[in-house]
C-alpha cells in the first residue's frame, strides 16, 4: 500500500492517467450498459403451451398435461418445480429451473419430451409452443390498435401479420399474439335446419370440404421440348367459390355447401375482448425478454411506430399505452438525483468541517471517480444500471467521503506538525493504512451475506452489494493513489497555520463553526466523563434501553419490499363461473361506470379492459393475472398524473363498494407496477395458500373452510380461490345400446357435436390460401353460436351420417352438472390455490397468522394432502431468514477480524457490544416513521453495522494507543472519545446527510435511507459514549495486563 503512495509521489502522472482511464471506462460503461428498473433476474422458466380447441379443463389436465408433466419430470434435468394450468382449450405447463441449469439443454430435453408424448395424446393435437423466459419478463409497453371503420378481425389481422413481425426485430422484445379483436378465418356457418331438411349432418360438410379443397401437388409433364407444371384447381381461388363445392348428389340433384351453409370471411366466436376507454380495440403487449434493457425495448418500439403507421391504413389508430418507461426513468432519475444531492450535501459538509476548499476539491474529485470505477466494474461483471445498483452507489457515497476525508485530514494534521508535504503524505498514509484497511474489510464483510441470498432477493441485492463493495474498493485504492498525488499538488506550499485570523465571509463562517464545534466537543466531553463517573448505571441503562428498543421490532411489521405509489391500478374482475363473454363485457361496462363514480371526476385518465382468455396460448403463458376463461378479465386503470397519492384510498373504497354493487362478481386488485409483478413471479397475489393432493372433493371442502378463515384474518383482502369448480356443464349421456340399434355410434355423436359446437379445425384442419396476400387462413366448419342457443337446439343436433336421420335428443339424456373451470397442478399433483393480498397491514404479520391457521387445519386435512404457503410471503420469509443468518455471520466475522487486528479477545467484544445500539436506532427510526421492515431496511441495518464497527475501531484503537502510552483506562477512554469525536461525527454526518434525500423520498429505497440514518444516530452515540465507557470498564478490571500497541496511529 505504501509503495503505491510512494509511486503517487514519485511518478504522479501514473495516477492522473489512471483517473482519466477510470473516467473513460466509467462513462463508456454508463452509456453502454442497459438501464433498467431491476437487475436481470436469471431464474429461467420454460412455458409449454398445448392447444386443443374445445377440450374442457378436466380432459386437458387428464389427457394432455399429466402425460406431459410426467414425461418432463422424468427426462428433464435441474427442475425446481413444475406448475400447470389446464384451461378450456389450453394447457400451460411452466417448468421452473434451478438457477444453475443449462437452459439450452433443458430446452432440448423439453422439446424432445413433447415429441415423445405426442402420440399418446388426443388425435389431431399439434406439438406445443415452447417459450423460454425469466422472472423479469413483464410487459413494458402496449400498443393499442383501434379503428372506427375497420372490423375487428381486420384489425387483429394487421396486428398479427403486419405489426408483430416488425416488432420482433426490436432486440429483447417478445411479442405474443395480440389481445382482443378476432382472428381472421374462413368460417363455414352450418345451418342446422337445412342440414336436417337434406338429411345431412355437419360431418358431411367437413368431409366435402376436405375432399374438395386440397393441397396436393400433382407434378409436371414433359411435352415436346418443355416441362410443364400441372396446376390443378384443387383449392378455390376465392372464399365465395367454396360455397359451390358439392356435398352430395341425390336423384340427380347436387347439394352444394352453399345450400346448407354459408361460407364467408369471418372469425371464430369471440373469446377475448379488449376495450380501450370503452372502444373495442386490439392490444399488443410487448414483453421484455432476455437481458435487454426495458428502456431500450420501449425506445425501439416507439422508434418503429412512425414506420408502422405508414404501413397501416389511415383509419387505423395506433397508440402506445401502459408505457413503463416513465416509471423506470423516474425511478432511475430520482435515485440519481438523490445520489447527486447526497454528494453535494456531503461536499458542503466537508467544506464546513475542513474549512479548506483545496481539501474539499480533492475529496469531491475522488468521490465520482470511485463511483465511475464501480460502474465500470459492475458493467464488467455483467450488471446493468438499475435502481438497486444506483441505490448501492448512493449508499456508498457517505463512506467514500469518509475514506478520502480521513486521508486528507491526516495529511493536514501532519502538515500542521510543520512537516514537508511529501513526508506529511507518507506519514499520514502510514498512520491510517491499517485502520482504513480494517474498516474497508468490515464494511465489505457485512455485505458478504448478501451474496448468499437465494431466489429473487439474491438477484436483486447481489448487484447492490457489488456496487457498494466496488465503490469502496475503488475509493480505497484512490485514497492511496490519486488523493496523495492531488494532495501533493494542491496542499503543498499552502499555509497551514490555522491560527491566522479568518478572511472573507466563508472564513468567518468557518471560524464560527469551528468555535461552535469546539463547544459541542466540550459538551460531549462533559457528558462522557459524567457517564464514566456513573458508569455502572450508564451501562445498565444504555444496554437495557437498547434491548428494550429491540422489543419494538415485532411492532414494525415485515414486508418484502416497500410498496410504491403508482398511477396504475389493475383490477381483476371475475363474474359468475361460466358467464359468457358478451355478458362479462356488459358487467365490465357497469363496473367501469361504478369505478368512475366512486373515484369522482378528474381522477381516472384511462381504462383498458382485457376480458377472457387470450386467443393464443402463448399469451396465456405470459399472463400473470390469473384469467381462466370468458367470465373474468382485468381492468387496467391509469390515474391522472399526481393522483397516485390517492390510489390506496381509492382501492380501499372500491373494495368496500364494488362487492356491494356487484354481488355476483369477485374483485381483486393485482399489482400493476413492474416491481411487484417481478417480485410475485407470475402469481397474481403475494399470498398463495396451496392445498395439494389427490383427494379432490376433500381438498375442495378444506379449501373452502380455509378460505373462510383466511378472509377473516385482519388485514387480508381479496381472498379467493383461483380454481372454481362450478363451471356450468351440460351432461349428454348417450344410451349406447339404443344408439347402436338405431345405427348411431358414440363416435358419430362426438364428431357431430365437435363440428357443431367447437368447429372442425382441431380434427380436420383445412386451410385456404389467399392468393392475393399469401396468408393461409384456416377453414372452419361450425354452427354459429347464435343459432345454438337453447337446450332444444342441442337436442336437435343431427347425429347420424347418411343413414336414417337421428337427432341427439333421441339417443341421449341431457342433464346438468358442474365441472372444473381450470385444473392446476403443482409438481404433477392437483392443487387448489387460495390467493390473498395484505391491505393496511404488513405481509409478515398477515402471513404469520395464516401460517397458524394452516397449522390448525393440519389435523383436518385429508390423508395425503398438504397445505403449503407459497408466493411472495414465502420468498420474503426465506430472504429474511437468510439475511438474519447472514447478519449473525457478519457479526461473527467482524469480531474475528478485529480479534486479528487488535490481537485481543476483549476489545473486539467492546466493539461488537455496541452494535445492538445500531439495531435499536434502526428500530426506532422505522417505528417513528411508520416504516415496516423490508429487505431494503435490513440492507440499511447491515450497512450501519459496517459503519458503526469502523467508527468504533477508530475509537478503540486510539484508546489502546493511549493505554499503551501509560494512561489510566478511563482517561485513555476519555482521551480517545474526545480525540476521535471529529472524524466519527464527520463519518456519521456524511452518511446521514447522504441518506437524507433517499429517506425523505417515497421511493422503494426510502426504508434503506431511514434505517441507515436511525442506525447511525444511535450507533454514533454508542461509539462515542458507550464504547469508551465499556472500554474503560473492561480494561480497569484487568489492570495488570499491558497492551501492546498493535497499530501505529
Amino acid at each position: 500500500m505504501l509503495a503505491l503512495v510512494r509511486i503517487a509521489l514519485k511518478r504522479p502522472y501514473t495516477f492522473v492517467v489512471m483517473a482519466m482511464l477510470i473516467v473513460i471506462a466509467g462513462v463508456l460503461s454508463w452509456i453502454r450498459t442497459p438501464t433498467d428498473i431491476f437487475p436481470a433476474i436469471r431464474i429461467p422458466v420454460v412455458a409449454v403451451v398445448w392447444t386443443y380447441n374445445g377440450l374442457p379443463p378436466d380432459d386437458m389436465s387428464g389427457r394432455v398435461v399429466y402425460y406431459y408433466e410426467r414425461a418432463v419430470s422424468s427426462t428433464v434435468n435441474d427442475i425446481e418445480h413444475i406448475e400447470s394450468q389446464s384451461m378450456s382449450g389450453y394447457g400451460v405447463v411452466k417448468i421452473f429451473f434451478q438457477p444453475t441449469v443449462d437452459i439450452s439443454s433443458a430446452l432440448a430435453q423439453i422439446t424432445a419430451a413433447s415429441q415423445t408424448v405426442l402420440k399418446l395424446l388426443p388425435p389431431g393435437i399439434t406439438p406445443p409452443y415452447v417459450l423460454s423466459y425469466n422472472a423479469s419478463s413483464v410487459p413494458v409497453i402496449q400498443l393499442a390498435l383501434s379503428s372506427d371503420s375497420l372490423p375487428e378481425a381486420k384489425i387483429f389481422d394487421f396486428g398479427q401479420n403486419m405489426i408483430r413481425p416488425q416488432l420482433a426485430t426490436v432486440a429483447g422484445a417478445a411479442v405474443p399474439s395480440p389481445y382482443g379483436g378476432m382472428v381472421r378465418q374462413v368460417q363455414i356457418d352450418v345451418d342446422q335446419a337445412k342440414l336436417r331438411s337434406y338429411g345431412l349432418s355437419a360431418e358431411d360438410v367437413v368431409a366435402a370440404v376436405g375432399n374438395q379443397d386440397l393441397i396436393i401437388p400433382v407434378g409436371t409433364q414433359k411435352i415436346a421440348d418443355k416441362e410443364y407444371v400441372i396446376k390443378l384447381n384443387d383449392s378455390p381461388e376465392s372464399i365465395e367459390a367454396l360455397n359451390n363445392l358439392p356435398v352430395r348428389t341425390v336423384e340427380g340433384v347436387t347439394v352444394r355447401i352453399g345450400d346448407i351453409a354459408f361460407v364467408h370471411d369471418s372469425h371464430p366466436p369471440q373469446i377475448n375482448m379488449v376495450r380501450v376507454n370503452g372502444d373495442n380495440a386490439v392490444l399488443m403487449s410487448i414483453i421484455k425478454a432476455g437481458s435487454a434493457s426495458t428502456l431500450d425495448v420501449i425506445e425501439g418500439v416507439k422508434g418503429l411506430m412512425p414506420r408502422l403507421r405508414e404501413m397501416l391504413p389511415e383509419s387505423l389508430k395506433l397508440v402506445a399505452v401502459g408505457d413503463q418507461a416513465p416509471f423506470v426513468e423516474g425511478a432511475v432519475r430520482s435515485v440519481l438525483f438523490e445520489g447527486g444531492l447526497a454528494a453535494a450535501l456531503t461536499g458542503l459538509m466537508i467544506l464546513i468541517f475542513l474549512g479548506s476548499w483545496r481539501s474539499t476539491v480533492i475529496i469531491i474529485i475522488s468521490i465520482p471517480l470511485a463511483i465511475l470505477a464501480s460502474v465500470a466494474a459492475l458493467a464488467g461483471t455483467g450488471e446493468n444500471i438499475n435502481v438497486m445498483t444506483l441505490g448501492g452507489l448512493a449508499l456508498a457515497v457517505g463512506i467514500l467521503v469518509d475514506d478520502a476525508t480521513v486521508t486528507i485530514e491526516n495529511i493536514n494534521f501532519q502538515l500542521e506538525q510543520k512537516k514537508e508535504i511529501e513526508a506529511a503524505i507518507m506519514d499520514g498514509a502510514r498512520q491510517i493504512v491499517v485502520p482504513a484497511t480494517v474498516s474497508l474489510l468490515c464494511i465489505c464483510i457485512v455485505f458478504v451475506p448478501m451474496f448468499s441470498l437465494g431466489g429473487i432477493s439474491g438477484y436483486l441485492f447481489r448487484p447492490m452489494a457489488k456496487a457498494v463493495v466496488f465503490a469502496l474498493m475503488g475509493s480505497y485504492l484512490l485514497s492511496r493513489t490519486l488523493v496523495p498525488t492531488m494532495a501533493n499538488y494542491l496542499l503543498g506550499g499552502h499555509d497551514h497555520d490555522s491560527h491566522t485570523p479568518p478572511r472573507g465571509f466563508f472564513g468567518k463562517f468557518q471560524h464560527g463553526f469551528e468555535q461552535r464545534f469546539a463547544a459541542a466537543r466540550r459538551g460531549y466531553e462533559g457528558m462522557l466523563s459524567a457517564a464514566i463517573r456513573s458508569r455502572r448505571a450508564f451501562v445498565v441503562i444504555f444496554l437495557s434501553f437498547v434491548l428494550a428498543s429491540l422489543a419494538l421490532v415485532p411492532f414494525l411489521g415485515q414486508n418484502f419490499f416497500p410498496s410504491v405509489e403508482t398511477v396504475q391500478m389493475k383490477l381483476h374482475v371475475r363474474g359468475p363461473t361460466g358467464l359468457r363473454i358478451e355478458e362479462t363485457g356488459r358487467l365490465f361496462t357497469r363496473v367501469e361506470a361504478a369505478i368512475s363514480t366512486i373515484a369522482g371526476p378528474g381522477v381516472i385518465a384511462s381504462v383498458v379492459d382485457n376480458i377472457g382468455l387470450p386467443i393464443s396460448g402463448i399469451n396465456a403463458a405470459y399472463g400473470n393475472s390469473g384469467t381462466i376463461g370468458s367470465a373474468d378479465g382485468d381492468i387496467l386503470i391509469t390515474l391522472e398524473e399526481g393522483q397516485e397519492k390517492n390510489s390506496e384510498d381509492l382501492v380501499r373504497r372500491l373494495r368496500e363498494k364494488l362487492p356491494e354493487l356487484f354481488p355476483n362478481a369477485t374483485f381483486s386488485f393485482l399489482p400493476a407496477d413492474i416491481v411487484t409483478q417481478i417480485l410475485n413471479f407470475g402469481l397474481p397475489a403475494p399470498i398463495d395458500v396451496q392445498v395439494i393432493g389427490n383427494d379432490f372433493e376433500g381438498n375442495r371442502l378444506l379449501a373452502n373452510k380455509l378460505l373462510k378463515r383466511i378472509s377473516e384474518v385482519t388485514g387480508v383482502a381479496d381472498a379467493r380461490i383461483q380454481q372454481p369448480a362450478d363451471q356450468p356443464t351440460i351432461n349428454v349421456d348417450v344410451d349406447r345400446i339404443l344408439a347402436s340399434r338405431l345405427g348411431v355410434t358414440e363416435r358419430d355423436i362426438a364428431t357431430s357435436l365437435l363440428i357443431t359446437l367447437a368447429g372442425s379445425i382441431q380434427t380436420n384442419p383445412v386451410f385456404w390460401l389467399n392468393p392475393k396476400s399469401g396468408v393461409s387462413y384456416p377453414v372452419v366448419t361450425q354452427t354459429p353460436q347464435y343459432w345454438m342457443n337453447s337446450l332444444e337446439d342441442l337436442a336437435r343436433v343431427p347425429v347420424s351420417r347418411g343413414k336414417t336421420p337421428q337427432i341427439l335428443g333421441a339417443v341421449a339424456d341431457i342433464g346438468r352438472g358442474e365441472s372444473n373451470a381450470v385444473v392446476s397442478h403443482y409438481s404433477v399433483q392437483p392443487v387448489i390455490d387460495i390467493f390473498a393480498t395484505n391491505s393496511g397491514r404488513d405481509l409478515g404479520s398477515v402471513s404469520a397468522e395464516i401460517r397458524k391457521i394452516i397449522q390448525e387445519f393440519d389435523k383436518a386435512r385429508p390423508r395425503g394432502t398438504r397445505i403449503v404457503l407459497r408466493g411472495q410471503s414465502e420468498t420474503m420469509n426465506s430472504a429474511y431468514s437468510q439475511l438474519y443468518g447472514g447478519l449473525a455471520l457478519a457479526v461473527a466475522l467482524i469480531y474475528l477480524l478485529i480479534v486479528v487486528n487488535f490481537q485481543s479477545w476483549l476489545d473486539p467484544f467492546v466493539i461488537v457490544a455496541a452494535l445492538p445500539a445500531a439495531l435499536a436506532g434502526v428500530t426506532w427510526m422505522l417505528f417513528a416513521t411508520h416504516t415496516t421492515l423490508s429487505v431494503p431496511a435490513l440492507t440499511g441495518a447491515i450497512m450501519c453495522m459496517g459503519v458503526a464497527t469502523a467508527n468504533s475501531i477508530l475509537v478503540v484503537s486510539f484508546a489502546r494507543e493511549q493505554l499503551a502510552e501509560g494512561l489510566e483506562p478511563f482517561a485513555a477512554a476519555l482521551e480517545a472519545g474526545v480525540g476521535r469525536f471529529r472524524p466519527v461525527l464527520m463519518t456519521a454526518l456524511a452518511m446521514i446527510i447522504g441518506m437524507a434525500p433517499m429517506a425523505l423520498s417515497a421511493e422503494q429505497n426510502a426504508p434503506l435511507g431511514r434505517a441507515v440514518i436511525g442506525g447511525l444516530i444511535f450507533s454514533t452515540v454508542a461509539t462515542l459514549v458507550f464504547v469508551p465507557v465499556l472500554f474503560g470498564i473492561v480494561h480497569s478490571r484487568r489492570p495488570g495486563k499491558s497492551i501492546e500497541a498493535s497499530d501505529e496511529r
Binding site: E660, L661, N704, S790, L791
Partner: protein, 394 residues
Amino acid sequence: MKDNIASEPLTGAVRGRRRGLWLFPLAAVGLALYLGFTFVQRWEAEKRLAEWTRERAVPTVSVISPHRDDKPQILALPGNIAAWNEASIHSQVAGYVRSWRTDIGAIVKKGDILAEVDTPELDERLAQAREELSRAEAGRALAGVTAERWSALRSSAAVSKQSADEKSSDLKVKQADVGAASANLDRLKAQKQFAQIVAPFDGVVTARNIDIGSYVGPDRAAQPLFKVADIHAVRVYVNVPQTYAARLTAGMQATFTTPQWPGRKFDARLATTSNAIGAQSGSLLVELDAANPDGALFPGSYADVHFELETDPSQLRVVSSALSVGQHGVRVATVDAEGRVKFKTVVIAKDFGVDVAIASGLEPQDRIINNPPESLADGDKVRISGEPSTGAAE
C-alpha cells in the same frame, strides 16, 4: 492539548450532570408519552382494520325468489309435409300422348282433362266392334224377317212347328249377338274415354312426366303421367323419438315453420299417431293436420315442428344460475331470516334451459341466492345486496 482535556472535564461533568438530571426524566416521560400515544393509535387502527376485514369477509349475495310460470316446454322436431290427398295418375290405355293440357302447378277441378292419348289400336278395335255390331244387327234383322215369315206360315200350318221355332230362336241368338257386339262396342268406347286423362279431384298438378308422343300404358310400375295433389290442407308427418313419444297426444296444438317461409308460423293439430315405434327409425310416426288456404305449404317440404308440451303451472321455478350441482345432488342456497345460508336439496322436474321447474324441496317464500359463491357452506353469514338481481348477467 492534553492539558486542556485534563482541566476541562470537571466543568463539563458538572454541567453535564446537572443538565442530565432534568433532561433524562423529561426524555423518559416524553418517550413514554409518545409510546403510549402511538401504541393506542396503532391499536385502534388495527381494531378498525380487523373490523373492516371481517366486514369484507362476509360475502355479499343477491337473492331472488322462486317464481311460477306456465310457459310451455317446446319440443322441436323435423317433419315432412304431405298433401291432404295425392293421386298418381296412370294411363288406363296404351297409346301415345296426343296432347297435354295442364302443366305442373296448374290448379285443376275434378274432371278437367289433363291430357289426351292417341290409341290407334283401340280405335281399330272400336271400328271392328262397330262392324261386328252392324253385322250382328243385319243378321238379327234377317232372322227377324225370317222368323216372322215362318211364324205366319205356321199359322197357316204351312211349315212345321219345329222349323218355326228354329227360326224364332235364331232371332233370339241374333239378338243376343247384337247385344254382345253392342256391349263390346260400349266397352271399347269406355276405354276410349280413358284416352282423356282427367283430374280425380280438385287440386294442383304437382308432377307431369309425359310429353306429346310419349307411349303410355296400363303398366302400374311405370311412372305416373301426372301427380295431382289436394293441398287445401296438408298433413305433416313427424318421427318423434321414443323418448318423447308418450307426451304427444291427439288433439294437441303445434306450430311449424318451413325453410321457404322464414319467420312465418303455421298452426297444426295433432290428428293421430301410429301408436307403434318404427323398428328402423326407433320413432313414433305422428300425423298433424294443417290448413293451407293460400297454398303456401308445398307437399314434400321439410317442416320444423314445435310441440308445446304443457307444464305444471303450480310448480316453482328458479333460474338455472341459482342451482349448484355437485356430489350432493342439485341444491339451492337459501338465506334465512338471520341472514344465514341454508342449502336445500331440490328435485328438478323439468329443465327449460334458462330456468328449471322444481318438483320438491323449495318453498315459494324462500330467498334464493343467485350465483352462489362456491365456497358458501351451511350456516355462513351473508349480506344481501341492495341491488335487485334477475339474471345471470347481474
